[in-house]
Amino acid sequence: MRVLMFGWEFPPHIAGGLGTACYGIVKGLAYNGVETIFVMPSASGDEDQSVAYIINASDVAVESVSTDVDEFLDKVRFVHIGTNMVPYLDPEEFSEMVENERRRQLKDLSVSYGQKYKFSGKYGANLMEEVARYAMVGGTIAMQHADEFDVIHAHDWLTYYAGIAAKELSGKPLVVHVHATSFDRGSADHIDTRVFEIERRGMEAADKVVAVSDLTRNIVINKYGISPDKVVTVHNAVDFSGRGEMTVEKGVKEKVVTFLGRITFQKGPEYFIEAAAKVLKRTRNVRFVMAGSGDMMNRSIRHVARLGISDRFHFTGFLQGADVHKMFALSDVYIMPSVSEPFGISPLEAMRTNVPSIISRQSGAAEVLSYAFKVDFWDVDAMADDIYALLNYPALASFAAKAGYDEVNTLKWNNATAKLKKVYESVFK
């Protein structure tokens, strides 16, 4: 089995969790005997080439290999940047507008034909343009390597157009992998409709949709209207190889309860703050840390000050690399009170560091972690209860740490990718 995989990032240069997951998947697939060609918009050359053949899309010029130019352009023409909402046009004006749009697109595509495009591979302002260009390069790569793969696999909406183009031009089956949806990024009534549209098209064009949790699978079925028999859950795993044990000397004497992640609405920072205030009413032998940054950070700081707990509630700002591991090592309790979390890898990291974790039931991780404490994100009383118990009953904390450690070590990509291989086999005729 051979797979052509479209990702957006790959270690060591990663901005989000997607790159880490892709690495785990590619490695696991190799273990299960699946060869991978991994395409990314902007490779740096220091990626781990031992697990996959990596193609840097910035090195590939857009061109057709087996088909003629018009056919190629026609097949990738579905890609367009943004949506036009133009109200109050009569039918004649409307058809004229559509025709103009078609001509403009063809012109755009003709211009980029035969050209290389330098992708940033980041999540910047011209993301939509990069997504569209990536599709054209993706189609080109699919034709160039048509004999070298059996299945196409695309990760998250950024790569769906590339996946669709590759399918159109190669005729091979497409699997799209849903790590997060628009509904996890915005609140229910404020989603990015352009992204939603790309997601929906990707899922519709796909032969199978892989969701990272049952929670996400339900969203795919209910919000995107995808047939349930087409959607399969493959839970994420975590790769701890090459991770040394970190010993950190603790500066503070009190116990430390940590929240680590983007400080945004979806992560539920305010529930953590409320729970912290409740715990501090009962015990002073604790400090709370909110590590990360995000659009709710300033609001959270004001919230903490208003509650008068800022001598026990600390903000670290954005952490990366060794500081993240250091933060886990300093923690006595980890908490992930997410309002909506497709999976949520951070509690697994915490438990691997022997830190008992409290996670919201509204997270995919809750489906696989038996030994994490589970609460509804809005139930700050239950959250405070669990924190208090873990801080004050050593037997509970040491049991949770031990059992949690053993549990996360069973969540291996090798097992998850075996399931993924079955998905490939189901679409490969």
Binding site: V252, K253, R287, N298, I301, A305, S310, R312, H314, T316
Partner: protein, 429 residues
């Protein structure tokens, strides 16, 4: 009798805090950004303190007792002079020897202690008095509170501490139809005479002098003298109170500010309407015209002339309550090193940096602020304060043990009284 002009300059430099992260708590208890403090102090010494002191000294000698000024130099600034620019102390000493310069008393740490803690307020006033006596050989008899913060209650307290003259702001909402150009008395203690800043004429020099957008730019001494005379037409005294850093730092030397100040005493002497007085001379010379009622504290800051620059939002109030909540424990611990840090952490500047009024008085606030956002200022301050609180708790615990041991071994020794609020003034190193 001639009318009076009272010139008073404020000299203050805060102990700016270094970037202090959560990870530093309990590990490193050096809180100050020595490099920034030294660099800034030496720059301002070169641009303002030294040249302006030299110019004032020359004018005083030339005036043969006619030209007089007053200074208030915070203890925090004095410490930095001694450490980084002792020549500034020497030049102030030269000024002191002329007998034409009055040194005022204030809170040693330029703090908000008058609002936070009575014992701490008394302690800092005494500490400052001792420092002025030691360095300049004079005992201050007039008082100015941090940022000219004043209320009936604060004034009464100041009178109790033995001062008969106090400086404050001629805030519009307090004065109403009354003119700031007279001497007033405290509403509770008629023995305390008040000098009120004429903010229009003070700010003409301190803020507007180099503003080319100002309709009266450029300001000449002739023009300024006519304004002084207009204002004093119905009044006895004009109080020009401003930051000393106005000269050469806030208003660049190239604006002609030094020349302006050089010409002012001469033109005033020639005109014969006014004579220069120091604050204590002013209240002996002019009889008070009325008592002034100030129930809520006023200050010289921003448009509001109230406390909102330091205590206007939740962050500032929480930090303020936290730091002043420690006074009792400090009294128990009785450790001079802790007292020093405690003092520096009370500097009003730290609270000023947390101000969110950025949009109306933003320019002034930004100018004085080493932090990008009030949130950063708050986080950093609270991290430092958390470490300090941990040290304080340790010291209190150690003291408890020592007291117990002492009590058991030598019974008649008097037990240290908790929270007496009285403590010896720490000796300078």
């Amino acid at each position: 009798m001639k009318k009076s002009i009272c010139l008073y300059f404020q000299v203050h430099q805060p102990a700016r805090l270094r970037l202090y992260r959560f990870f530093d708590i309990g590990k490193d208890s050096h809180y100050y950004d020595d490099f920034a403090n030294r660099t800034i102090l030496r720059r301002i010494a070169r641009k303002c303190y030294l040249p302006m002191n030299a110019q004032l000294l020359e004018q005083i000698r030339k005036g043969k007792g006619k030209f007089k000024v007053a200074f208030s130099i915070s203890g925090s600034a004095l410490e930095q002079f001694e450490r980084y620019a002792p020549e500034v102390i020497a030049s102030f000493r030269d000024l002191a020897r002329t007998g034409c310069v009055e040194f005022l008393c204030e809170t040693y740490f330029h703090s908000l202690a008058s609002l936070g803690s009575q014992p701490e307020f008394e302690h800092q006033v005494t500490k400052h008095k001792v420092a002025i006596e030691r360095l300049f050989g004079v005992t201050p008899t007039a008082f100015r509170n941090t940022e000219l913060i004043y209320s009936d209650a604060i004034g009464a307290k100041v009178y109790e501490m033995g001062f008969d003259t106090m400086l404050t702001e001629g805030a519009r909402h307090i004065m109403g139809w009354k003119s700031p150009d007279y001497v007033y008395t405290n509403a509770v203690q008629p023995g305390l005479k008040l000098l009120l800043r004429n903010y229009n004429l003070s700010d003409d020099i301190a803020f507007r002098f180099s503003d080319r957008g100002w309709s009266d730019w450029p300001l000449t001494t002739e023009k300024y003298l006519t304004w002084l005379k207009q204002s004093a037409d119905k009044g006895d005294i004009i109080n020009l109170f401003m930051d000393y850093e106005t000269f050469g730092e806030h208003q660049d030397a190239s604006s002609g500010i030094f020349e302006f100040m050089k010409a002012l005493p001469d033109i005033v002497a020639k005109d014969k309407t006014f004579e220069f007085v120091t604050p204590s001379e002013a209240t002996r010379k002019h009889a008070p015209v009325a008592s002034l009622e100030v129930s809520d504290p006023i200050s010289w800051a921003d448009e509001e002339r109230d406390l909102t620059a330091w205590l206007g939002n939740d962050l500032q109030q929480d930090a303020f309550n936290k730091v002043y909540g420690l006074t009792e424990k400090l009294a128990i611990a009785g450790d001079p090193i802790l007292w020093e840090d405690f003092g520096h952490l009370q500097e009003s500047d730290h609270f000023y940096y947390m101000c969110t009024k950025f949009f109306s008085d933003g320019e002034v606030h930004k100018y004085f602020n080493p932090y990008d956002t009030p949130y950063e200022a708050f986080i950093n301050y609270m991290n430092v304060l958390s470490d300090f609180m941990a040290r304080l708790d340790d010291a209190v615990a150690a003291r408890d043990i020592k007291d117990t041991v002492v009590k058991e071994t030598s019974a008649p020794r008097p037990v240290r009284k908790a929270a007496s609020g009285k403590k010896p003034v720490a000796k300078k190193k």
